[in-house]
C-alpha cells in the first residue's frame, strides 16, 4: 500500500517537473528572434534593392541617334539594306531600330548590310527612305569598370572618374588620420597620466560626435581658405578633394585613436616591464614592444577608418565639388561616389531612368568595398590577435 502511495507521489512530482508548454513564453521568444533576424532582412534588403536596380542599369536598352538614315526604302522581307554613309559606323551583331522594328546586323558588305529582320519579337515592316536609324546601346560591365568618364547626359558611365575621387579623398584622410590617430593612441595609453587621459578622451569623443555636415561646413569655410592662402588662389579651386580629404581625416581621427588605444591598453603590463628591465627606454618599449603586440588591433582600426573615409558623404558633397572629373590633382574639384549619389538623388530624378539606376550600381559597389574592408578588419582581429594570460 505504502509503496503505491510513494509511486503515485513521485509520478505527480515528475509530472509537475515535466516541461510545461508555455505558449506566451514561446511567442515572446519567437518575437525576440524576429527582432534579431531583422538585421539579416536589412542586409538582404540592401543587397536586393541595390542589386535589382543595378541589374536594370546594365540591361536597360537605350537608343542612340547615330546620324544615319535609310538610303532607300525597303520592304518587309528585304534582308539587304543600304544606309547613308554619314554618322557612326556599325559593327556585326549590333541591333538597330527602324521605326518600331528591331534589326540585327549580320554582315557588313560593299553593297549594304545583311540583316536579320524583326528580332526581339518585333514585326518586320516596310520602311520609307530617309528615316533615322537608331543604335541599341547598353552599359556594359566592361565600360563601367574600365572607362574613366562619367557623364550620364552623353551616356558615358565609367566608374573610375568617381572611384578616383573617392580614392583621393580617402588617401588624404588616411594620411591625416593614421599618423595622428596612432600617435594620440600611443600618447594616451603609454605616456599620459590617468588624469590627463580622463580629460582628453571625452574631448576626442566630442570631436567624434560632431555631425558630418558640420565638418563639411568647416572644410568649406576654414580648410579651403587656408589651403588657398598657403598654395595660392590660382592653384587651389574653391571645391577640391584635398580640403575634403583632410577634414575627413580629422573626422575619423578619434575613431583611429580610440580603437588603437583599446588595442594598446590590452597589452599586459608585464611585457612593458620586461622591456624596461632589459634597459629599453619608454619610446623603445612603446614602439618595439607594445605597438607590435597590439598590431592586429591597430591594423583593424586603420582599415575601419579607411572604410569610414570611403563611405563619408556630406563632407565631400559640400567641399569636394559637383561634377565628376578624372584628375590626380588634389586641388581640383572632383566628385566622389557618395557625393555623386547625394547630388543626383537630391534633385528631381525620375525613377525610371538610367541615371537613377546608375546610382544603385555605384551604391552596390560602395557597399561591397566597405563590407569587404570591414570583414578584413574582423578577420585580422580574429586571426592575428595575440592572446595573453
Amino acid at each position: 500500500m505504502e509503496n503505491t502511495m510513494e509511486y503515485e507521489d513521485s509520478q505527480a512530482i515528475q509530472a509537475s517537473l515535466r516541461k510545461k508548454s508555455r505558449p506566451v513564453e514561446t511567442m515572446i521568444q519567437a518575437f525576440l528572434f524576429l527582432c534579431g533576424a531583422l538585421s539579416i532582412l536589412t542586409t538582404l534588403g540592401i543587397i536586393y534593392s541595390l542589386g535589382s536596380e543595378a541589374m536594370l542599369f546594365f540591361t536597360r536598352v537605350q537608343w542612340e541617334e547615330i546620324n544615319k538614315t535609310l538610303a532607300a526604302e525597303i520592304g518587309a522581307n528585304d534582308t539587304l539594306i543600304m544606309l547613308s554613309q554619314s554618322g557612326k559606323s556599325l559593327y556585326e551583331d549590333d541591333i538597330i531600330r527602324l521605326q518600331d522594328e528591331y534589326i540585327r546586323v549580320l554582315a557588313i558588305g560593299e553593297d549594304g548590310l545583311t540583316v536579320e529582320r524583326g528580332v526581339q519579337n518585333t514585326i518586320p515592316a516596310a520602311h520609307p527612305a530617309d528615316i533615322d536609324v537608331f543604335l541599341e546601346v547598353k552599359v556594359t560591365l566592361r565600360e563601367f569598370f574600365l572607362q574613366k568618364d562619367w557623364n550620364p547626359q552623353i551616356g558615358k558611365f565609367g566608374i573610375w572618374a568617381l572611384v578616383n575621387a573617392t580614392l583621393m579623398t580617402s588617401l588624404f584622410a588616411t594620411l591625416v588620420a593614421i599618423p595622428l590617430g596612432l600617435s594620440t593612441a600611443i600618447y594616451l595609453s603609454e605616456y599620459a597620466s590617468t588624469k590627463v587621459r580622463n580629460t582628453l578622451k571625452p574631448i576626442l569623443e566630442i570631436l567624434a560626435g560632431i555631425p558630418t555636415v558640420v565638418f563639411g561646413y568647416f572644410a568649406l569655410t576654414f580648410m579651403t581658405p587656408v589651403l588657398r592662402a598657403v598654395f595660392g588662389r590660382d592653384v587651389v579651386e574653391i571645391y577640391n578633394t584635398a580640403s575634403a580629404g583632410i577634414v575627413i581625416g580629422i573626422l575619423v581621427l578619434p575613431l583611429v585613436a580610440s580603437m588603437s588605444e583599446d588595442a594598446l591598453s590590452a597589452v599586459p603590463r608585464s611585457l612593458r616591464e620586461a622591456a624596461y628591465s632589459l634597459g629599453a627606454t619608454k619610446l623603445e618599449t612603446a614602439l618595439k614592444v607594445v605597438v607590435p603586440a597590439a598590431f592586429s588591433g591597430i591594423m583593424a582600426a586603420f582599415i575601419v577608418a579607411i572604410s569610414r573615409a570611403i563611405g563619408e558623404t556630406m563632407i565631400v558633397a559640400i567641399a569636394a565639388g559637383a561634377g565628376p572629373a578624372f584628375t590626380f590633382n588634389p586641388f581640383k574639384s572632383a566628385e566622389t561616389m557618395t557625393g555623386h549619389i547625394v547630388r543626383i538623388s537630391g534633385g528631381d530624378i525620375s525613377y525610371d531612368s538610367l541615371d537613377y539606376n546608375s546610382l544603385f550600381a555605384i551604391g552596390l559597389m560602395l557597399f561591397f568595398i566597405t563590407l569587404t574592408l570591414n570583414i578584413i578588419s574582423q578577420v585580422i582581429v580574429k586571426r592575428f590577435r595575440e592572446v595573453y594570460e
Binding site: L32, T42, I46, S49, S183, I210, F218, I318
Partner: protein, 410 residues
C-alpha cells in the same frame, strides 16, 4: 660593452624626447581642430551686416511711431499705401488682413516694401576690429543708402520662423520640427526592436551557426555607410511601400502630391540605420547584469521571460537607455540618407503628421551651406550652433546616466 651602452644612452634619450613631443603634439591637434571648428562657426554667426533698403524705413514713420512699434492696423495701412493695388487685393484674397498676425504683416512689409538687400557682411573677427563707420565706408561707394547693423544671426526670430527665401527672415522652425518628428519615428521603430534583438542574442540565442551569423551581420551593418541606408530607404520605403508611407492606405493625404517622400519613410530609414548601434549597446548593458540575479530568479521558480522582464531588464535599463540616446544623437546629425530618401528642398509649413513632407536641421544646414552667397553661410552657422547645442544636451544626458549607472553597479 657597457661603454657602448653608455655612449648610446644620450642619443636614445634624445630620440625618446623628440617622439614624446611629437606624440603630445598630435594629441593636441585633435583638440586644436575642435576649438578652431567651434570658433569658425561662432565667427560666422555674428557680425555686422550692411543693408540697403529700397525705401528708407524712416520714411514710413506714422505720427512718430517707427515701423517696429506699429500696431497691426497701422502696418496694414503702411502696406496698403506702398504696394500696388493689385498686389494688395491679391494678398487680401489669399487671406483677409483681419485674420493675419501682426508679425506676418510686418514680414510682408519687409518683403514687398522695404526689400532689404544685404550688400556687405562681416564676420565676428572683422566686426571687432572695425568700427561701424569703417565698415560702412567699405560699401558706401557702391551703395550710398546702406545702413550697418550688428546682427546676431542666431536669435529668437531665427528659432521660431519657418524657412524663407529672404535670409533675414529665414528660420529653422520647420527644420527642427521635422528633425523631432523623424527622430521620434526612428526611435519608436528601432528602440523596441533593437532591445528585443539584444535580449534574444544575449538571453536566448544558443551558439549555433544562425545566431553567429546574426551577430556578425549586425556588426557588419553598423559599418555600412549611412548613404547606403538612404538608398535602401529610397528603394523600399519610398517606392515599394509607397502606399503605406504616403499615407494613402489610411486615406490621409491628398492624392495629388502623394509620394513616399515623407517623415515616415525618413524615420524608418534612420531607424534601420541606428538599429545595429542600439542592439550592440543594449547587448553590452545586458551582458553587464550579474548572473547571480538570473540564477536567484530561476531558483524561485521564475520562467525565462519573468526573469528577463522583472530582473534583467530593469537592471540593464540605464545602460540600454544610454546606448539609445547615443544612437539618437547620431541619427540627429545624419544628413546623407535623408537627402537620398528625399527631403524637401523648400518647405514652410510645419509637419503635421508622419505623412507630411519634411526637412531636417542638418539638411537645412547642408542646403544653406551649398548656396554661394555669404549670408547663407551665416545662417548655416547659426543653425549649426543650434544643432550642436541640441546634441550636447543629448550627450550630456547620456553621460550623466552612464555615470549614475556605473556608481550604482559598483
Amino acid at each position: 660593452m657597457t661603454d657602448l651602452f653608455a655612449a648610446n644612452l644620450p642619443s636614445r634619450h634624445r630620440t625618446g624626447k623628440i617622439w614624446n613631443i611629437l606624440f603630445r603634439a598630435s594629441t593636441f591637434v585633435g583638440i586644436i581642430v575642435l576649438v578652431i571648428l567651434l570658433l569658425t562657426i561662432i565667427n560666422n554667426a555674428f557680425g555686422y551686416v550692411a543693408f540697403e533698403y529700397k525705401i528708407n524705413p524712416d520714411s514710413l514713420v506714422i505720427e512718430g511711431v517707427p515701423l517696429e512699434e506699429m500696431s497691426k492696423e497701422q502696418l496694414t495701412q503702411v502696406l496698403q499705401e506702398n504696394v500696388s493695388k493689385g498686389l494688395f487685393r491679391n494678398l487680401e484674397n489669399q487671406q483677409p488682413f483681419e485674420n493675419r498676425e501682426r508679425d506676418e504683416i510686418y514680414g510682408l512689409i519687409l518683403e514687398r516694401v522695404l526689400e532689404p538687400q544685404i550688400v556687405g557682411i562681416w564676420n565676428m573677427v572683422d566686426t571687432i576690429q572695425l568700427s561701424r563707420q569703417e565698415a560702412l565706408a567699405e560699401v558706401i561707394d557702391q551703395h550710398p543708402n546702406a545702413t550697418i547693423e550688428f546682427m546676431s544671426w542666431l536669435d529668437l526670430q531665427f528659432l521660431t520662423s519657418p524657412q524663407s527665401s529672404t535670409v533675414v527672415r529665414a528660420g529653422i522652425r520647420t527644420a527642427v520640427l521635422g528633425s523631432l518628428w523623424t527622430i521620434m519615428v526612428a526611435v519608436l521603430f528601432a528602440f523596441p526592436i533593437g532591445v528585443g534583438g539584444a535580449i534574444y542574442l544575449e538571453e536566448y540565442a544558443e551558439d549555433n551557426k544562425l545566431n553567429r551569423f546574426i551577430r556578425t551581420n549586425i556588426y557588419n551593418l553598423s559599418g555600412v555607410p549611412s548613404i547606403i541606408y538612404g538608398m535602401l530607404g529610397l528603394a523600399i520605403f519610398v517606392r515599394v511601400l509607397n502606399k503605406l508611407t504616403s499615407g494613402a492606405v489610411f486615406g490621409v493625404v491628398d492624392p495629388i502630391n502623394s509620394n513616399g517622400r515623407t517623415i515616415l519613410s525618413a524615420g524608418l530609414t534612420l531607424g534601420l540605420l541606428i538599429l545595429p548601434m542600439i542592439i550592440i549597446n543594449a547587448q553590452e548593458a545586458i551582458k553587464a547584469v550579474p548572473n547571480s540575479l538570473r540564477l536567484a530568479s530561476y531558483g524561485l521558480g521564475g520562467t525565462r521571460w519573468q526573469t528577463i522582464w522583472h530582473h534583467v531588464l530593469p537592471n540593464a535599463l540605464p545602460g540600454v537607455l544610454t546606448g539609445a540616446i547615443l544612437a539618437v544623437s547620431r541619427a540627429f546629425g545624419e544628413t546623407a540618407p535623408l537627402v537620398v530618401v528625399g527631403a524637401s528642398t523648400f518647405i514652410t509649413i510645419d509637419p503635421q503628421s508622419p505623412f507630411s513632407k519634411f526637412t531636417t536641421l542638418p539638411i537645412q544646414i547642408y542646403q544653406w551651406t551649398s548656396r554661394p552667397q555669404d549670408e547663407f553661410r551665416s545662417i548655416a552657422a547659426a543653425a549649426i550652433i543650434v544643432l550642436l547645442i541640441l546634441l550636447l544636451t543629448l550627450n550630456t544626458t547620456a553621460i550623466l546616466l552612464r555615470n549614475r549607472f556605473s556608481r550604482r553597479m559598483n
